[in-house]
């Protein structure tokens, strides 16, 4: 009987990754203080990976996991103490395992040499401890008492198969104990009333015998004991496997190894929350439909308001109904978007490990503090923010935090502090990465920036401007290029990734005291707070987040530079005036600056003025991709559908600014003036 397992493969892979994550986070917790439940979680994860991979025939994974599991089992029953070497070994195993699982996905073969090495190391660790495991090669007598729970058959297990498998290990004698069998009239054929006692003569180890029962281990009482001499009954090594480990098992002594800890302590007890696994496409489909509903609702609203103005008895009923519809759609939309939200801890979880490893490499002592991990953010945002965060944390560790000696000399506590926090702030998620290291060296940054021609030495820059120069492309101050950072690709990539998500990043630094990187991101990529703006008959959407203010142009503040570039005096700075209709190649829209409005927008820390005809309302718009059927256009980040069913383009402010500079490039002097 062969079953097509391929359709379950994705589920299995997903479970594997979750299991690996659980193992990793569990292993890191072993540092700070060991709790039996924690080891159990790790053990369970390893066990289900083993079981799953064996079912799919991925023997290299199941064999490897098996060795890990054995080691974990010893930790669990207290016959081995947790120490740093074991944790390191297990963490390395998790990495290899992840590579193996990744390998399945990409159908590539894992690095067998490393797998073999690590497996050997694991076995060596096992070997130097488990002296009680009997030498193989000798025939031994095993007594196996197998008392399954009544549901054995219902769960699809067949004891006959288990015994057949046992028989392969050696000579088997099985006796069935049918003493609990009810009379035939009361017998339910799907309930298992039988117990078995088997005597196995084999060269197999206890582990191998246990293996045979691995499918039913959770659903039975299994006693395996070795009979030293034929006929002698008292078991020497009795091992009991039940669903719950014996509570009297002594918890291994907590042993702080490296001061990396997640705090406050997470409520780890209730790991198994009730949830269902749904394909993300299904959720996205729902969200799309939801978007349609919002559009239809706003369309109905407009029609309703028009009708109501004509009066009539039913008008009020209509308006009430529409108000109700609006409330419900809004609520539905909020809840729908909530489905895609995941706690930021998914992105934060990798940091305890990362910091631990990097600290080991650099010989620094760092206390990592995570807070606000439960703050929820859209899955897509979450996926894309991971790499920039890793980069920033690495940067903080590499450049920000000093070594213990330097810290001691400066009178700071020897252990550095790195704080990662997340919180919601007015419809955005704000992530802060704070370290109490050296802070930015402004002189060095300025020197470097002048060297690279990013700024001129005549410019008078505010401290904030200088600090944020590190986000300019090609900027790196690392004196020594390490494998951690300093290769010059860095902060600008971080910044670009964050801008792609519609967010902003900035750094605040206090010399000698540390620095804080603040990342501000939209909660979701599906919806945007937009400002509707008109050019002639056409409507465009400006992201509200990038608008600073809108103003009527006062002619005395307008300056013309080199004939073609218009600058406007906005507060104390001159900002370039970008005429949106020219920029978009539109034929309509007013060219008369008195008749329109100037919207001051911010792009990458710089201000610019966007000249438009007029502003309309503000509204939340559902973002539709242009790329799906067309392709990305410069200056346009997407499209949306307005209440009247028309399509409106969502403008991408940084893209527009670039487009503006591009069109000016034929006239370099003007471009320079516009940029400054």
């Amino acid at each position: 009987m062969s079953m097509d397992l391929s359709e379950f493969l994705d589920v299995f892979l997903e479970e594997c990754f979750e299991g690996l994550e659980a193992m990793e986070s569990g292993l890191l917790h072993l540092d700070a203080g060991t709790d039996l439940e924690e080891i159990n979680t790790i053990f369970r994860a390893a066990h289900s990976i083993k079981g799953g991979s064996a079912a799919f025939g991925f023997n290299h994974i199941s064999e490897f996991t098996h060795v890990m599991e054995t080691l974990l089992d010893e930790l669990r029953d207290g016959s081995r103490q947790v120490d740093e070497n074991i944790v390191d070994l297990l963490l390395a195993s998790v990495d290899i395992l992840r590579e193996m699982v990744d390998g399945l996905k990409e159908e590539s073969t894992p690095d067998e040499v490393r797998v073999a090495e690590l497996k050997k190391a694991l076995e060596a660790a096992l070997g130097n401890h488990s002296e009680e495991s009997p030498a193989t090669g000798e025939h031994q007598l095993w007594k196996i008492l197998f008392s399954p729970c009544p549901d054995l058959f219902r769960e699809g297990n067949d004891p006959l198969r288990i015994f057949e498998a046992l028989e392969e290990l050696g000579t088997l004698e099985v006796q069935t104990d049918a003493s609990t069998l009810p009379p035939l009239s009361a017998l339910d054929p799907a309930t298992c009333h039988l117990r078995w006692e088997a005597i196995l003569e084999s060269t197999a180890t206890e582990e191998q015998i246990h293996e045979t029962f691995s499918w039913v281990e959770e659903n039975c009482d299994l006693k395996i004991s070795r009979i030293e001499d034929k006929g002698e009954q008292p078991p020497v090594a009795e091992k009991e496997t039940k669903k719950q480990p014996a509570p009297e098992t002594p918890a291994p002594a907590p042993k702080p190894v490296v001061a990396v800890k997640a705090k406050p302590a997470k409520p780890s007890a209730n790991r198994e929350s009730s949830s269902i696994r749904v394909a993300i496409e299904k959720v996205d489909l729902l969200i799309n439909l939801m978007g349609e509903l919002v559009i239809t609702q706003s369309m109905l609203n407009q029609v309703g308001l028009d009708l109501a103005q004509e009066g009539g008895q039913k008008a009020e009923v209509l308006l009430n109904g529409l108000a109700q519809l609006e409330r419900n759609t809004r609520e539905l939309q909020e809840n729908m978007l909530q489905i895609r939200m995941l706690p930021i801890s998914v992105a934060f979880n990798r940091f305890p490990r990362l910091v631990r490893d990097l600290c080991g490499k650099m010989g620094k002592k760092v206390d990592l503090v995570l807070s606000g991990e439960q703050t929820e953010v859209d899955k897509t945002v979450l996926e894309k923010i991971g790499d920039p965060l890793v980069h920033l944390v690495r940067n903080s560790l590499d450049h920000g935090l000093e070594t213990s000696e330097v810290r001691a000399a400066k009178g700071k506590p020897e252990q550095g502090r790195l704080e990662l926090s997340a919180q919601h702030e007015s419809g955005n998620i704000v992530i802060r990465i704070t370290d109490d290291g050296a802070g930015l060296d402004r002189e060095k940054i300025l020197k470097k920036a002048i060297e690279q021609g990013l700024v001129s030495d005549k410019d008078e820059l505010s401290e904030e401007r200088i600090d944020n120069l590190i986000f300019q492309p090609g900027f790196s101050t690392a004196e020594q290029v390490s494998d951690l950072s300093g290769r010059g690709v860095g902060m600008d990539v971080v910044k670009r990734n964050i801008s792609d998500l519609g967010g902003t990043v900035s750094i605040q630094s206090r010399q000698g005291k540390g620095s804080t990187v603040v990342i501000r991101l939209p909660l979701t990529l599906a919806i945007l707070d937009g400002q509707l703006a008109s050019i002639g008959e056409d409507t465009y959407i400006l992201p509200l987040i990038s608008i600073i203010e809108s103003l009527q142009i006062r002619p005395e503040n307008l300056k013309c530079v080199t004939g073609s570039t218009e600058l406007y005096r906005f507060r104390d700075e001159y900002i370039p005036v970008m005429r949106l209709n020219k920029l978009l190649g539109s034929q309509c829209g007013t060219d008369n600056l008195d008749q329109g409005l100037l919207v001051v927008v911010e792009s990458e820390g710089q201000h610019a003025g966007l000249f438009i005809d007029k502003l309309q309302g503000q509204q939340q718009v559902v973002i539709k991709s242009l790329e799906a059927n067309f392709q990305q256009l410069e200056g346009v980040s997407g499209a949306t559908i307005l209440g009247d069913g028309r399509v409106a383009l969502i403008l991408d402010i940084p893209g527009l600014v670039q487009l503006f500079h591009k069109t000016r490039n034929s006239n370099p002097a003007a471009a320079l003036a516009a940029a400054s």
């Binding site: 978009l584 059927n629 559908i641 399509v647």
Partner: protein, 180 residues
């Protein structure tokens, strides 16, 4: 027999009978008019036919790309075939329709796009052996998308390859622009 509803304009709808049980080697083609010529595209590429509606223009795109429309929530780009083939432009008439097609890229990506034509005419069964390869003529307009020629009741029908037309012809135009 299935029926496809073709809105000739917002008031009248014409029904075209389509026999989906085609014989081996015989494909069905939807034909349409463009500046007096009859063109045909494989009916399996057609998603729907819509009456003319206003489009939202897109910035800095070639003139043949009119803009985008809202097709039940999806943003669909619209191509003006006349201008794409360098034919003289005319204002939309009551018979002007948008044929929404599914163009498939080489990598299997499917794009929904619309093309504006003067009017749709008929559905013909055309056997493969009735199709002649396109002659090599170097005249203005995009020749690449022509899959072949056929004659039907004394008319010449120009068969177009939708994938080639939309993906290489229309979207390719944009790549050229951005590359320049």
């Amino acid at each position: 027999m299935t029926e496809v509803e073709v809105p000739m304009n917002s008031n009248t709808a014409q029904k075209i009978d389509i026999d989906l049980q085609s014989e081996e080697g015989v494909d069905q083609y939807l034909t349409f008019c463009l500046a007096g010529e009859e063109y045909g595209i494989n009916i399996l590429k057609v998603q729907e036919i819509r009456g003319w509606s206003e489009v939202t223009p897109m910035p800095n795109t070639p003139a043949s790309i009119l803009g985008v429309i809202n097709l039940r929530g999806t943003v669909v780009p619209i191509v003006e075939l006349r201008s794409h083939f360098n034919l003289p432009e005319v204002p939309p008439s009551p018979t002007t329709v948008i044929i929404v097609v599914k163009a498939v890229e080489a990598n299997g990506n499917q794009r929904t796009m619309g093309m504006v034509v003067d009017a749709v005419s008929e559905v013909h069964n055309i056997a493969a052996e009735e199709i002649q390869p396109p002659p090599q003529i170097g005249e203005a307009g995009d020749q690449r998308a022509i899959a072949g020629l056929t004659t039907m009741e004394q008319h010449m029908i120009i068969l177009l390859d939708v994938d080639d037309l939309m993906i290489n012809g229309v979207l390719g135009l944009l790549d050229d622009e951005s590359g320049a």
